[in-house]
Amino acid sequence: MFLWFHKLGSPPHFYRIAGKWIPWLSSIFLVLLLAGLYGGLIEAPPDYQQGDSYRIIFVHVPAAWMSLFIYVAMAFCGAVIIIWRMKLAEVVLISSAPIGASFTFLALATGSLWGKPMWGTYWVWDARLTSELILLFLYLGVIGLHNAIDDKRVASRAVAILTLVGVVNIPIIHYSVEWWHSLHQGATVTKFDKPSIHWSMLIPLLLMALAFQVYYVLALFQKCRVELLQRERNSKWVEEL
């Protein structure tokens, strides 16, 4: 088991294995996506307060969860990069960044579209929205810094440090709705007691969240393969492809 994991860390093996997994992940993703969309758009009843507009939740919340999850994954890679200088961690970190930034943007945009009919405004400078916006800037900063440094191994270390410094933002985002009175609604799913959301809405939500998770891995593998090719273009295993 450990040996398999060790092998996975080597670029040529990862390249191959990721390539094999991508079609499977795509199928799983599509199944989850369709199930989630069906459950959310067709099966689930309209909310008695919000009517049909609440259905934005099925993309907004999974996107927001992914935006946080991906950054934490990147921070984890950052720690691995600084401690062990593992090449694969470098590739995973930088490949995750655009995906994380996209989800952050999506969370902000869909939240904005949901906010207008429900709470009367596209934007408000409360703690959660502002800290999510900062998260977007952090992602963009990571991408920008990595681009600016020519030597990619050095760039990865720089970006690792930046990611780790920015990780303090994540708990701020998550707990912001508890710490500050906010326009954004409080936690309904990630509470430790019974979630205060009806199961007919919870199930599609979880399905979509899972779909987005699988998508992340799928898109990540895709991007990692490209990144590996670019970084290792002078090495033997690339020649042999």
Binding site: L41, I42, P46, G51, D52, S53, R55, I56, V59, H60, A63, P98, I99, S102, F103, F105, L106, A109, T110, L113, W114, K116, P117, Y215, L218, A219, Q222, K223, R225, V226, L229, Q230, R233, V238, E239, L241
Partner: protein, 52 residues
Amino acid sequence: MMEFLQMGGYAVFVWPSYALAALVLWLNWYLPRKQHEKELRQLRRRYKAEQK
């Protein structure tokens, strides 16, 4: 069907949200794939040139 598309009057908010999601998901899949193919093409050209 019309009722579904109307989304209780909120269509102008709900459907763009889903459209944005679809766009984001598609781009993060499509752009790396195109990059990948480009990389492979460039590499093949390079090795052909080196063989000579």
